[in-house]
Amino acid sequence: MSDNPELLIASLYPRDMNIYGDRGNVLSLARRARAQGFTPRVVDVNPGDALPEQLDIVIGGGGQDSGQSRVAKDLAQRAATIQDLATDGTPMLMVCGLYQLFGHRFITNTGDELVGIGVLDVETRGGEERMIGNIVLDSEQFGEIIGYENHSGDTTLGSGSRPLGRVTQGAGNNPRDGVEGARTANVIGTYLHGSLLPKNPAISDFLIAEAATRRYGSFTPIAAEDNTVLRARESAKRRPR
C-alpha cells in the first residue's frame, strides 16, 4: 500500500491490438507515473469489458487489420462514452490501429469501410505504399519525438485536429503533408512505435500532468532526467531511415 496518489490507466484492447510492441507504452507510462510520485493502476479493457468508472488516462496500441475489425465493433459501442471523456479533457494516447479508429473512418484497400468514433478529425485510407522506418518529428510542446513507423494507412487531418509534429525524417501521416499524428483536446493519435513513450518521456509527462491536474488540482514534476533515455534518443536519431 502506498501513500502516493493514484492514477488509473485504462489500457484499451491489449489482447487484440498488441502486435507492434505498444505494450511498452503502458510499461513506460506506469514507470514514469511512479517517478513523478504517483501510484499507477493499469486496467485492461478488452472487448466486452466495462470501462473503469474513474479513469485518468486512456492508452491504446496497434494491431493487425483482423484485430482492428474485431475492436472496431466494440469501440463503436463505447463511442459516446469515449467522446464525452475526450471532450471533458481526459488525456489519451492512441497508436496506429487505434489512432485510425479514433478518427472518422478507415477505408481499406478493398473499399470496405471501418467506422471510427470521430474523436480525432482524421480519415484513413488503406494505401499502396508502406511507410516504414525510423522517424523523427519536431514538435513545439514535446521537442523532438523519436520512433519507428510501419503503416500503409494514409491518414489526412481535418480542421478539427492539429498534427503531433512536423516530420524531419520519415513519412508521417501520409507521403505528402510532412506532418505526423493528430491532436484534439488532450487526445494524441500517432503512428509512432519504438515503443513511443520510453524514448519520449515528455509525452508521458503531458499525459500525467493533465491527469493529475484534473484529479488533484495541480501537478509538480519531480522525476529526474534519465541518462539512459538521453543516450537511447541520441543513438536512435543517428540510425538511418
Partner: protein
C-alpha cells in the same frame, strides 16, 4: 548440355567469388540469370524428392535435425547448409555440389525456406513434402502482418504435392493444415506434431502473452499427433509415436528446440514411409524404426548460433540467437540464469529486424536477480532502456561489439557466460570469437 554449361559457369563464378572473399550466394545469382530452370531440373532427379522447411522460428536447427536423421539411415542429403534461405543460396549450394553434368549426388533434398523468398522457389520447384513450424511476429518490417506471413505459408502448402507436416499448437499453422486436407484436387497427406496437454502451458504463444492472467482452462483429451512431445527434461525428452513412448537424451537445448525435434521426427517418418519416385529402379527404400530415428536425434547438435556452446577462457560460452519476442522469451525461459554472466547484443540491420518495438514484448524480469553484465550492438541503449524498465541492473553499455566482448570477458572471469544476440551481432561475434577459441564451421 545446358546443365553442363550452367554447372561449369556457376562453379567458375564461385571460385572467383571465393578468391575475392565474396558472399555465398553470388554463383546462384549468375546461374539463375543464365538458366532459370536449372534448379528445378537438378532437384527433379532425386529419388525421394524435395523437403521444404518453413516458418518463423527454428528452421535452421530443424532442417539440421531432419538432415542428420536421414543421413543416419544411409541417405545422401542435399541441403542449403550455409543457412542462406534465399533461392539463390540454394542454387549456389547446388552448383557447388553437383557434377559438371548437373547431377546431384543425393537421394533427397531438404531445404530451409524463408517465407517470402519461398514464393520465388515454389514457382520453380514443387516440394514433395513440406514442414510448417510456426507463425510468429518477427521482422514485421519485412512482412508487416502475421496474417500475411500465414498466407505465404499457405501458398507453400498449396504447392506441396504429397505430404504436409504442421504444428497443431499454432493456430494459424493448424488452419493451413485443415485447408490443405480439404484441397479439392489431389490433397497431400497432412500430419501434425504437437504437445501433450500438460506441456501446452509451458509454451506461451504471442496470443497468450497478451491475454494477461492465465484463465484456468481444462483442456479436453486430444487424439495423439503423429509425433507428440509428452515430457521434457534437462537435455532429455519423451516422444509419443504410434502410441509408443520413446525416451531419449538430447544434445539440443531449450524448449523450442525440443518441440522442433518432434516436427523433425514427423517429417522424417513421412519421407521414409513414402515410395521412391518413379524412374529410379536402382534406389533402395531405406527402412527404419521409430526407435532408430529417436536414437539418431540424440546425436544432433544445435545449428549455427541457435544455442551454440563454445569454450572461452576455460568456461562455457552459450551463444543464443534472438530474432523475435517468442524466441527471446523462450531463450530466457529455457536457460537457468543463476551464476551465469549475461551479455545482450542488439543490432538493427535488415537481417536483425529494424524496428526495436519487439523488445517491449519480452519480459526480462528473470534477469533481474543476476543483472546483465554488458549490453551491446547498434541499439545497445534501447536495450539498456528496456532492461531498466524491468529493474534489471546493467553493468556496462558499449555499442561496439569488440569493446563489449572485452569488457564482458574481463568483467566475468570465472563464470559460465551467455550472450543473447540478434543475427548480424551473432555473425560479428563469431568472427571475433574465432580468433580466441575454436568455433565450428557452420554446420
Amino acid at each position: 548440355m545446358r546443365d553442363f554449361f550452367s554447372a561449369v559457369i556457376g562453379k567458375t563464378v564461385r571460385q572467383v567469388a571465393r578468391l575475392r572473399g565474396g558472399g555465398s550466394a553470388l554463383p546462384g545469382l549468375v546461374v539463375e540469370r543464365l538458366d532459370p530452370g536449372f534448379l528445378a531440373r537438378v532437384l527433379s532427379r532425386l529419388p525421394y524428392g524435395v523437403v521444404a522447411v518453413s516458418g518463423t522460428n527454428g528452421k535452421t536447427t530443424t532442417t539440421k535435425m531432419i538432415v542428420e536423421m536421414l543421413e543416419a539411415r544411409g541417405l545422401r542429403v542435399f541441403t542449403n547448409r550455409t543457412g542462406s534461405n534465399f533461392s539463390r543460396g540454394v542454387i549456389a549450394a547446388a552448383v557447388q555440389e553437383c557434377s559438371v553434368t548437373g547431377k546431384l549426388d543425393a537421394d533427397v533434398a531438404v531445404l530451409e525456406l524463408d517465407e517470402a523468398h519461398a514464393m520465388y522457389f515454389i514457382e520453380r520447384v514443387k516440394p514433395r513434402f513440406t514442414l510448417l513450424l510456426n507463425v510468429l511476429r518477427d521482422q514485421l518490417d519485412r512482412f508487416g502482418e502475421i496474417d500475411t506471413t500465414a498466407k505465404l505459408l499457405q501458398r507453400i502448402a498449396d504447392a506441396t504435392t504429397e505430404g504436409l507436416v504442421v504444428n497443431r499448437e499454432d493456430r494459424l499453422i493448424a488452419a493451413i493444415g485443415e485447408q490443405t486436407r480439404a484441397r479439392a484436387v489431389a490433397p497431400p497427406e497432412v500430419r501434425t506434431f504437437g504437445l501433450s496437454n500438460a506441456l501446452l502451458s509451458t509454451f506461451p504463444s504471442d496470443d497468450d502473452f497478451h491475454a494477461g492472467t492465465a484463465e484456468a482452462v481444462t483442456l479436453e483429451e486430444r487424439p495423439d499427433a503423429d509425433v507428440t512431445l509428452v515430457e521434457l527434461g534437462d537435455h532429455s525428452a519423451v516422444f509419443r509415436i504410434d502410441g509408443q513412448d520413446l525416451r531419449t537424451d538430447l544434445k539440443l537445448e531449450g524448449l523450442y528446440n525440443t518441440f522442433n525435434a518432434a516436427a523433425a521426427l514427423s517429417t522424417v517418418r513421412m519421407v521414409l514411409q513414402a515410395p521412391i519416385l518413379p524412374g529410379h529402379p536402382e534406389a533402395q527404400r531405406a527402412t527404419t524404426t521409430d526407435t532408430e530415428l529417436v536414437q539418431a536425434l540424440a546425436e544432433v547438435r544445435p545449428a549455427f548460433g541457435r544455442g551454440e556452446q563454445l569454450d572461452l577462457d576455460g568456461q562455457p560460452l552459450d551463444l543464443v540467437l534472438v530474432k523475435n519476442p517468442a524466441g527471446f522469451r523462450l531463450g530466457l525461459a529455457s536457460f537457468d540464469p543463476e551464476g551465469v554472466a549475461v551479455m545482450i547484443a542488439i543490432n538493427d540491420q535488415y537481417a536483425d529486424g529494424r524496428d526495436m518495438s519487439w523488445l517491449w514484448d519480452v519480459d526480462f524480469a528473470s534477469l533481474s536477480a543476476q543483472g546483465v553484465s554488458t549490453v551491446s550492438g547498434t541499439r545497445a541503449w534501447d536495450m539498456a532502456l528496456r532492461l531498466e524498465h524491468d529493474d534489471v541492473a546493467v553493468g556496462e553499455v558499449h555499442e561496439s561489439l569488440s569493446d563489449a566482448l572485452r569488457a564482458f570477458r574481463s568483467g566475468s572471469p570465472d563464470q559460465p557466460r551467455r550472450i543473447y544476440c540478434t543475427y548480424t551481432a551473432m555473425l560479428a561475434l563469431r568472427k571475433e570469437l574465432a580468433e580466441l577459441t575454436e568455433v565450428e564451421n557452420i554446420w
